[in-house]
């Protein structure tokens, strides 16, 4: 018979899930550091380290300036998108919600297209001040602008209507799409190429400045998101009932929108539009561990980081020495997985 101390020491089911996912993330990270165009492998580097030899400048460059920031960026973007998806599915009480639904992606896309097509018109002095990061900056501002506008439109007398937000998000995405269309019409061939690649998402531009710019924001959003679990669980019964069991529903909604917008905005800014992670990852976690948001949110962060890191490894290897945009990989792998889930579940989603 198990004694009381055994029960206390044995990790609970969610804790075990988190351990497994953390282990998977470590393996994915090792794979990401191992693989690349240059012939630099972890075992060779480890051997050198054991023998006390210094790394060559090239090896340092490849490991420290190319593969590590790329790994960090992939993990940040994957965790940010997956947690945003989980938050928004909880907020909208709809398993089909994804970060695109609050206008973040559309706004980010419009910002990026504006920067790509019209950026050249800016005076060179202003352009220099953005440090060559005009597109990510514009994408971030665009995604935040869209979310704040959406939040304003759907909040009346201190109450945010989630249904209005959903509808206004569709309208805003259509408007952003039309404006983007005008800019695309004006764009030259090179700009069109840049745009197309931005829309498919990529971690190819990974650098420490980008990681340091987006990292704190994503980390803050993820940290805050972990406190929303109980509230989002209560929200599953509807807003009125959530309030009746003691949840401050308006504060919960504001916090949820801010967390999702911060994490997605930062992710979109540094990596472009990467689809499917936000919608598929929370589903996979729910299948494995149930809908409790106290488990779902951290597990989605870990699984999102793992899957995007792995998708990036595939993107780098599959057409080496060139590489695929990561959005293609996530969609090619994500869509069939999603269809499989839909076919396997007879009772429908939710």
């Amino acid at each position: 018979m198990a004694s009381l101390s055994d029960i206390a020491l044995a990790p609970s089911r969610p804790a075990r899930l988190h351990l497994w996912l953390a282990a998977a993330l470590v393996l994915a990270a090792l794979a990401s550091l191992q693989v690349g165009a240059a012939d630099v492998t972890l075992s060779a580097l480890a051997g050198k380290f054991m023998r006390g030899e210094a790394l060559s400048p090239l090896e340092r460059l490849i490991l420290w300036d190319i593969r590590l920031p790329r790994l960090a960026m992939g993990a940040l973007v994957g965790a940010g998108l997956a947690v945003s998806g989980a938050i928004l599915q909880g907020l909208f009480r709809n398993p089909l919600a994804d970060p695109g639904i609050v206008g973040v992606t559309a706004g980010g896309m419009l910002g990026a297209i504006l920067a790509i097509v019209l950026g050249g018109l800016l005076p060179a002095a202003h352009l220099a001040r953005t440090g060559g990061q005009l597109v990510p900056l514009a994408a971030f501002l665009g995604s935040w602008g869209a979310t704040l506008l959406l939040y304003r439109v759907s909040t009346r007398g201190g109450r945010t209507s989630v249904a209005t937000m959903l509808l206004a998000g569709i309208a805003l995405a259509a408007l952003a799409g039309a404006l983007a269309g005008i800019l695309i019409y004006m764009a030259d061939d090179q700009q069109l190429r840049d745009l197309t690649f931005w829309n498919m998402g990529s971690l190819a531009g990974a650098s420490w400045p980008k990681v340091l710019a987006a990292g704190p924001l994503v980390a803050l959003a993820l940290g805050a998101a972990m406190t929303l679990g109980r509230g989002l669980n209560g929200l599953a019964m509807g807003e009125a009932t959530a309030a009746h069991i003691g949840i401050n529903v308006q504060r919960l909604k504001t916090a949820a929108v801010l967390c999702a917008a911060a994490a997605t905005g930062a992710a979109v800014a540094i990596a472009g539009a990467i689809g499917f992670v936000g919608i598929v990852v929370p589903h996979l976690v729910r299948l494995a561990a149930g809908p409790d948001h106290r488990t779902l949110l951290p597990a989605s962060a870990l699984l999102g980081a793992t899957l995007l890191t792995l998708a990036d490894v595939i993107a780098r290897v599959i057409v080496a020495p060139a590489e695929l945009p990561i959005g293609i990989v996530t969609a090619v792998l994500g869509a069939p997985v999603f269809l499989w889930i839909l076919l396997r579940r007879k009772g429908g989603l939710a």
Binding site: G90, R93, N94, P95, R230, N233, G234, L235, A236, M237, G238, A240, T241, A243, H244, I245, G246, I247, N248, V249, R286, G290, P291, D292, G347, A350
Partner: protein, 260 residues
Amino acid sequence: MSFIATDIHVRYGPREALRRVSLTARAGELTAIVGPNGSGKSTLMGALTGTLPFDGSVTLNGQDITRQRPWQLAAQRAVLPQDSRLAFDFPVIEVVRMGLQAGTAGDRPEVPMQALARVGLAHYATRSFHALSGGEAQRVMLARVLAQVWEPVADGQPRWLLLDEPVSSLDIGHQLQVMEIARDFARSGGGVIAVMHDLNLTALYADRIAVLAGGDRLAFGPPTEVLTDGTLSRAYGCALRVSAPPPQHVPYILPHAATP
């Protein structure tokens, strides 16, 4: 200690859903709100629970409810909604545990199982909520509500159950079970306010009945005073005959066909 609504006035656009309706529910009693569809029953419940904006005042145990935080209200009253849908498929016991959100029974981890046993569904604890029938889902929600205010009296103050059509999806046996639970809660010192449709069930269990029609309060008092041919026929706009058959002489309402 009581739950007092004074001059509640609610407008939906140009329509007045409630016209200066007042109601005093006392701890230790089951107060029922009855009336035809659209009479303002659920609107009055919305004002009592603080879900709807209203003119007038609602005080709970002497405190204005609009001045209290959600968790302060949650510690004093639990609300059973009409709708027992759930966006995600939680296990039954987790749904009941959500009643502990306000921390009201936080140091009593056994309460959710006891609440589930009270509604006769202890063996359903690990089942999926979405696999339940409508009536079972409604009883699980009742267990959640009971878990939230498990002791009918806490710190010398009564706690309250607000039930919006608590028996709407239940068979007659479970209708009686749920009404017994509500009455026991009141007899133990708590207060119960229930929106009801079934007049005979209401006559059997309510200590006081408010009859609403067209946004006005037509009558308020004990069943024998309120449930009369005149009041009910006026409220529901159809011919109803009230009798009091032995042995209990509880009012019993029979409809009369409009055309023979």
